[in-house]
């Protein structure tokens, strides 16, 4: 298993999966990210990040039911594993710690 450190984009994807709950599949994640991050997110990038996260064991996936849309192809739904949840929390903790160390005066000057 690779390290549990998260990249910036990986973290965004993880958060999106968590937010989408049971409706997290590749295109949905991609759309959600595009909407929230305010930048164009490519499907290919999302795919490779999902692949990477899955191989790190941070998320898991299962195939859904076949529907009429998507040319009859099934969707692959993703959900966060406990390991994934942990590394999300850890990332957030690191941020919070760092944020708390910035004096308010310094913030005001920027």
């Amino acid at each position: 298993m690779k390290g549990t450190n998260l990249g910036e984009f990986e973290e965004l994807v993880l958060l999106t999966i968590a937010a989408l709950m049971s409706d997290a599949y590749s295109v949905g994640i991609c759309d959600e990210l595009s909407r929230n991050a305010g930048r164009k997110v490519r499907l290919g990038v999302v795919h490779s990040v999902l692949h990477r996260l899955e191989s790190k064991g941070l998320i898991k996936s299962h195939l859904g039911e076949s529907t009429k849309v998507r040319g009859g192809k099934r969707k692959r739904f993703y959900s966060i594993t406990s390991g994934g949840f942990e590394s999300m929390l850890k990332a957030r903790e690191i941020r919070n710690q760092l944020w708390s160390r910035i004096p308010e005066i310094a913030l005001g000057r920027i």
Partner: protein, 885 residues
């Protein structure tokens, strides 16, 4: 799977590509995502743009983690299965004897030509490979242009150019200047043998890798009057004695006695390989030439570009491009210094490796092959081969009904698509390899015939087998098999196993009917084009050799003097019974050789190049040239130089002499070779050059010497007898030179030998193309009629007549034939009318017979094939076919 009704589908090729490269466990998800985006894009941007985006996205998804990894177990299974494939292939070949033999014969016939082309090309590529510096050696060649006339591309250049490059241009490691014309009879003791070779500088052996067995390569060609001979020549001259240091005497130089004298042998060279672009028996030292031509200013001039060859050796890592700019500057300088401002000479470089197989140049140093012609013929052979591949493709796809059950079973047992593909490709490669055996047998038969097509070919290549050639042959067979088999393989691999097992008849096997029809039409178009071309060229050739040249050539024997005294030979021959008349000339006209000089009339600025022939007073009556004004030459004493010429009508027209009236031209003076020369007669225009070029200004010069040929008119019932008597007389006079004589008409035929070789080559290809197309057609007709036996029987029971049935069965094939005719005939006509024949000045018009004759006979052949097969089925007893229900 494909839904043709709904057009908003992603592009099929991209889908298949994705299916091919993507890992199976990721495939469904990726496809689904792409589909979702595609549907969105169709709404947003329209179908076209959505398809483009889809294709781009398919390529974007190529990432290391999406790629299919090769499956080693799969490879192992393929390997194990090959035995099974070969077994089933063998059974199939034996079961369908007709189809197998059509395939094997067709492939073998067309492959034999392919083998010939491979052997030929490999031989040509072998040329000059033995020179160590082969990639650094370049030849300096010339483009020569007079005013705006077409540019002459020449292999030769001037001695001055060679010397200037040596002095002025840097970046040249070494340079050798050579000149042709080191030839004559060489005498050693009582031995006299004719030798041909070159004058060459001593740097020759630095540049080229010709090996000296004896003598010092540094000094062998340094001193005047030294000679390097090849081993073979040395043996001829001296037997087993050591030749070094021996003296030989040169005499009988064909056109100048300046180089006669004693020469010392300073080196013996290994015999030259056949695959050398230059061939010679001896090399004379260049300093000799410097002595004997010292007084002859012309030889050393910039415009003396007709008989010298200059080769340069670039330093290691040197680029010819740098040199080219310098050569252009040099040419511009020298052109400006020339007295004749109308001529431009431009130097350029030609790599050694592109001499033997490359551009067509005038004054070649040895035999060459134009790469254009080689490409053309190889292309033709390739098309014929493809045509045979089509047969295979066609027939095996037509028989898909029989084979599909086998595929169904294989797939049910667990064969992947790729395995089915490999099975069918290996089957076609197997058939192709079988055909290679037959093709090789055919190749052995046509090889000697091909070599005998023209002396040039024999001179050029040996077509001997070597490891490379065999490797080439096998590669050809494997590639052919692959091309023939890949389409059916893909087709079979797509067969749906369940449907096949359920009932083969429900399957749509004729989906590719249109493609098969196109293939058949293509084959016939091709055959028609070939046949029509052959007939047109044949007609042209016949017209050339029977062309009314403007003089009589019948029963005239031309004897080459080869440096012997014309008067002695003439006297001996004239006494032989059966000899009717005899004349002397410097050349033979109308067979493609040219002798020329510059001529001026009153205007000193206006000069033209004019061709000539030097003749005696008997020549014009002997050949029955028509004199339209003035008189024939009369016999003059030998020691008086006569400046008299007889000109043709074109010359009068060119200089506008005497208001174009031939009578007025008599007595006028021309400046010929700088001397005043009087016109004593005018003859009717005749074809001095070949018939495919225009009639240009021409003149006959009178002389008592400079003759190279004796022309003898024979009048006898026993021509061979007379000829052997003449030969006997010659042998008594000159035992050194073999008797060299040929009838004028034969020489004319020989002059157009390129056409006759072309006819034979294209004719043979046409023959193959017809065989292949007919066999393909036969196969298709047999197949279609067999599958429709029951239908025909029912029709017959209901009262259809034989005529009706034949029409029903052959209708679609006849339609195809008509289409091919409609394409082929106009296409051939246009190709010949606009491209091929437009270069030939006196070409005969394309006749109806040539244009339609071939097509009609092929149509008849095809009709016969279709008719006989359909007739057989139509006549059969319907009860026989129906009772086996």
């Amino acid at each position: 799977m494909k839904n043709r009704g709904n057009t908003s589908q992603p592009p099929g090729l991209a889908v298949r590509f994705l299916e091919w490269y993507c890992r199976p466990e990721l495939l469904e998800d990726l496809q689904g995502d792409l589909n979702e985006f595609f549907e969105r894009n169709v709404k947003k941007h329209g179908l076209f743009k959505a398809r483009i985006i889809y294709i781009i996205d398919v390529f974007r998804f190529i990432r290391p983690y999406t790629l299919n990894k090769p499956d080693f177990i799969n490879l192992l299974i393929h390997w194990i299965m090959i035995g099974s494939y070969i077994k089933t292939s063998g059974r199939n070949i034996i079961r369908n004897k007709l189809f197998s033999s059509i395939n094997i014969i067709g492939l073998a016939a067309s492959m034999s030509v392919g083998l010939l082309m491979i052997a030929f090309t490999l031989d040509m590529l072998k040329y000059d490979g033995f020179h160590e510096n082969k990639n650094r050696i370049y030849r300096v060649i010339d483009d020569h242009q007079y005013l705006n006339e077409p540019v002459h591309h020449m292999a030769t250049t001037s001695i001055k150019a060679g010397n200037l490059i040596r002095e002025k241009i840097s970046g040249v490691e070494d340079l050798v200047i050579m000149q042709s014309g080191f030839q004559g009879d060489f005498q050693s003791g009582n031995n006299v043998i004719p030798i041909r070779g070159f004058w060459a500088e001593s740097s020759f052996f630095n540049i080229f890798s010709f090996q000296l067995i004896d003598g010092n390569p540094e000094t062998a060609l340094k001193d005047p009057y030294s000679v390097v001979v090849t081993e073979k020549t040395a043996r001829k001259l001296f037997g087993d004695e050591d030749p070094i240091g021996k003296t030989i005497v040169m005499k009988n130089h064909p056109y100048s006695d300046k180089s006669h004298g004693n020469y010392v042998i300073t080196g013996v060279m290994k015999d030259i390989s056949k695959f050398s672009h230059m061939r010679f028996e001896a090399l004379g030292s260049f300093p000799t030439l410097e002595i004997i031509e010292k007084e002859n200013d012309f030889v050393w001039k910039w415009e003396s570009i007709w008989q010298n060859y200059v080769y340069i050796l670039l330093p290691k890592g040197g680029a010819p491009a740098n040199l080219q700019a310098n050569l252009e500057r040099l040419s511009a300088e020298e052109n400006a210094n020339m007295p004749n401002k109308n001529t431009r000479i431009n130097l350029s470089l030609q790599p050694l490796t592109k001499i033997a197989l490359g551009k067509d140049l005038s004054n070649p140093i040895g035999p060459t092959m134009s790469s254009g012609i080689l490409w053309f013929i190889s292309g033709m052979a390739l098309i014929v081969l493809l045509s045979a591949c089509f047969n295979y493709t066609n027939l095996s796809m037509a028989r898909s009904l029989q084979r599909s059950r086998e595929i169904g079973i294989r797939k049910v047992i667990g064969a992947f698509r790729s395995q089915v593909v490999i099975q069918f490709v290996s089957e076609s490669v197997l058939i192709s390899l079988l055909s290679l055996g037959f093709a090789f047998a055919i190749y052995l038969v046509i090889k000697p015939n091909f070599l005998a097509l023209a002396l040039d070919i024999q001179n050029l290549v040996s077509l001997e087998l070597s490891a490379n050639v065999i490797l080439g042959f096998i590669t050809l067979a494997v590639v052919t098999g692959f091309i023939a088999g890949i389409l059916p393989a893909l087709f079979y691999s797509k067969i749906n196993a369940i449907k096949v097992i359920k009932g083969a008849s429900s399957m749509k096997v004729f989906r590719s009917v249109n493609m098969r029809k196109i293939l058949i039409a293509f084959q016939f178009t091709l055959s028609l084009v070939f046949v029509t071309s052959t007939l047109i060229i044949y007609k042209q050739y016949k017209d050339f050799i029977t062309f009314d040249l403007g003089f009589q050539t019948e029963n005239i024997l031309n004897i080459e003097l080869q440096g012997n005294k014309p008067d002695i030979v003439a006297k001996e021959i004239s006494e032989i019974p059966g000899v009717d008349g005899l004349s002397k000339s410097s050349m033979i006209t109308s067979v493609g050789s040219y002798w020329g000089s510059t001529v001026r009339y009153n205007d000193p600025q206006d000069s033209a190049s004019v061709y000539y022939n030097i003749i005696d007073e008997n020549y014009i009556p002997l050949f029955k040239h028509e004199i339209i004004a003035g008189n024939n030459f009369s016999k003059r004493p030998d020691d008086i130089k006569v400046n008299e010429v007889i000109v043709n009508e074109q010359l009068i027209k060119r200089f506008n002499i005497g208001n174009l009236k031939p009578e007025n031209a008599i007595g006028e003076f021309l400046i010929l070779d700088g001397e005043k020369t009087q016109i004593s007669g005018v003859i009717r225009d005749f074809h001095y050059g070949r018939v495919d070029s225009e009639i240009d200004p021409f003149l006959f010069r009178y002389s008592n010497s400079d003759f190279k040929f004796i022309n003898v008119r024979l009048i006898s019932d026993d021509l061979p007898g007379v000829m052997s008597r003449i030969e006997k007389a010659w042998k008594q006079l000159y035992p050194v030179h073999p008797f060299d004589a040929a009838f004028y008409d034969d020489r004319i035929e020989e002059a157009y030998s390129e056409y006759s070789s072309m006819i034979k080559i294209i004719g043979f290809l046409a023959f193959l193309a017809i065989i292949i197309a007919s066999m393909g057609l036969l196969g298709m007709v047999v197949y279609t009629t067999e599958t429709r036996v029951r239908e025909i029987s029912i029709r017959k029971v209901f009262g259809a007549g034989i005529g009706n049935l034949i029409f029903l069965l052959s209708r679609s094939f006849l339609f195809l034939l008509v289409i091919s005719g409609l394409i082929a005939i106009p296409a051939t006509y246009l190709i010949f009318d606009k491209i091929v024949l437009s270069d030939i000045t006196y070409h005969s018009p394309i006749g109806i017979i040539e244009l339609f004759g071939g097509s009609v006979s092929i149509m008849l052949l095809a009709l016969l094939l279709v008719g006989s097969q359909t007739f057989k089925i139509a006549r059969a007893n319907p009860a026989e076919a129906l009772k086996n229900e």
